[in-house]
Symmetry: C2
Subunit: 385 residues, 2 copies
């Protein structure tokens, strides 16, 4: 484990929002930051060079998916995830716990971990706190996550309590294993506790007792209403140390991220930019827009006026719409490039606003515009075709 100063430099706070720098073995990450998700050693449809070009600082890999395919032995032979996928910047990996409980067919949950069958070929595999850290060390992850159990929503309090106890036991083992491997890579603990604020608080305190390089808030965006989601952040963030990075896992919509930055969160990851691209949905400052709108059919303008992404600098709404209607792969890719850029850029602007002491006005204007777009949908006029 590294000291707070080795891991994080808090540059400025403005309101509740923070601007900082996370230090990793593959370089610095300026926060607040959006991290594109490269589930299976690839951010869907996008090359590592395109990620660099759009200003991505750090990306995610999913330990479960990489353990299942191509498998850890191949990953080690190939020199780790960075070399395998040709991404030289920092990589954060999850622990695999979330997918073990959501994707795999579970065979047996034991104190030491979980026997499960791969969702790809049914192969029987074991993942527990020690194995999850070993796997992430083998992948060469710059920021490793502790192996946790992520309860669904809603969930009875006694179940949440038992689950939290297990997660904390596992967190301790992960921390020991990090030390045992001698890795220089960071390990983040994960706050759980569902919608119970006392459990969230307890989780934050217990994790700090163990001591981690940084802290993540997990168990959010698991089907709960947005109000509950924000409450989970409110009952976690204030109990986390100010001198270490804070990461909310698996989120979110641009307006949700902006609101959470205001609650002191530094890092976000989300699959939405590439996932919604597949439905032909583009991210804009007035909310999501369907590229299938009839008003776009002859529109020579870019998806978003003034946007500096590759797609907007080069292609028209009319062409993007044509590609999506014709089911051309290039359409999916061009929207993905725009959507990833939009999320990266939104958080870059948030960072600039914090550094310049304009957080309150910037975030208020952003949220008003985003949510106004969502209700009146002025730009959305025209039937889908």
């Amino acid at each position: 484990m590294k000291t707070a100063a080795e891991v994080f430099h808090l540059e400025k706070t403005d309101g509740g929002a923070r601007a900082g720098v996370v230090h990793t073995e593959h370089g610095k990450v300026q926060t607040p930051v959006f991290m594109p998700v490269g589930t299976q050693a690839s951010v869907k449809g996008v090359s590592p060079d395109e990620l660099t070009e759009m200003g991505a600082q750090i990306i995610l890999g999913n330990t479960y998916h990489l353990v299942v395919r191509p498998g850890l032995e191949v990953m080690q032979t190939m020199g780790g995830l960075h070399k395998f996928m040709r991404w030289d910047g920092p990589i954060l990996t999850d622990s695999g716990g979330f997918q073990v409980f959501s994707l795999a067919k579970i065979r047996e949950v034991k104190d030491e971990g979980v026997w499960f069958s791969s969702h790809v070929d049914g192969k029987k595999l074991f993942l527990g706190p020690r194995e999850a850290v070993q796997a992430q060390v083998a992948l060469g992850s710059d920021i490793m996550m502790a192996f946790d159990e992520c309860p669904p929503w809603p969930c009875a309090k006694d179940v949440l309590e038992k689950s939290l106890e297990r997660t904390l036991r596992w967190a301790k083992i992960c921390r020991e294993e990090q030390g045992a491997t001698g890795t220089k890579n960071l390990l983040f603990g994960i706050v759980q506790g569902g919608d119970q604020s006392d459990l969230r608080k307890k989780s934050c305190e217990a994790l700090q007792e163990i001591g981690f390089d940084g802290y993540a808030i997990g168990g959010v965006s698991v089907g709960e209403p947005e109000k509950e989601m924000m409450a989970a952040i409110d009952s976690s963030a204030p109990h986390l140390p100010v001198d270490r990075p804070r990461y909310v896992m698996g989120l979110g919509h641009p307006d949700q991220m902006v609101r959470m930055i205001g609650k002191g969160v530094d890092m976000f990851d989300c699959v939405l930019p590439t996932r919604v691209a597949r439905n032909g949905t583009a991210c804009t400052s007035t909310g999501p827009a369907s590229v299938r709108k009839s008003t776009w059919t002859r529109d020579e303008g870019p998806i978003v006026e003034g946007c500096r992404c590759y797609t907007c600098l080069r292609f028209s709404r009319a062409y993007i719409q044509h590609l999506i209607k014709a089911e051309e792969l290039l359409g999916l890719r061009l929207i993905s490039l725009h959507n990833l850029f939009f999320n990266l850029e939104t958080l870059r602007q948030a960072r600039t606003a914090i550094l310049e002491g304009r957080w309150e006005s910037w975030s208020r204007e952003f949220l008003e515009r985003y949510q106004r777009g969502g209700s009146s949908k002025e730009e959305e006029s025209g039937d889908d075709v």
Copy 2:
């Protein structure tokens, strides 16, 4: 119609092979040349910048597909195909005839053309020789093709004869329409005649009587054995003028193209590089290779040692295989980039060999290596996994 000297400069012949330059309104094309196919205003999975980077000189568009979707009215509003898809180099378009007869549901074939229903939405449309030229003028095609009927293989001689008569009638109307529109863009006639050498000869002569900017050999690669395919070229190419470009439509495998260059063909287009990529097949100098081979799972080398394409300069066989197994879109794209580069590069090397008077030895060595690979498949060892 332009003079031969305005259209084509024959730089050198070596054996039967030719190196030359075709002049179009969007620039020069050095031949022999491979033309990537952008069916629906997009070369599958590849951006126009990537096409430029890999040295593509000219690409294809399919008139039928663009008439069906987004439709000519949209294409005209958007300023033509070049501006729509952001490709500034020359574009060749087919006439739509092939797809009208193969993809659409035909309603009625008349002397003036064909009433058909779109395969996308069933919309009733009409395409004949005049409409095909008008459509290609509207698209802004640099090299337009005459509207023809492409008989299947095998086909009775009397059917071939009647079809050829119609194609020649249509060719004449296309030529008139080119003149009537006042376009500066080129129009190529299409040789038909199936597997009947006398009909092929008659077709070549009749087309020259009408007079075209260049000549294409059609009705090949329609299911006939390779021997018949080569015979169709042998009974066509010698009857075409030496001072105008010759284009064989819809071909082919690299070895087929090399053999046809030896028969005096200058231009080729084919969907194979991107189509086989979808099955995880990579083009190599020893023939097609499956990226799923077990020997590739831990292979740090590129698809083809020494290949200078983006994919081979950047990514390993192991990673490409992983992407294809994991059904990641990036895999399809990276193999497409390699395969297109391989075909472009093969024809660039052919051109250099012709210009340097090494055609005979270069083509013999290429074909020996390619066909040896195809039989002994030394590199192919290892089970598909």
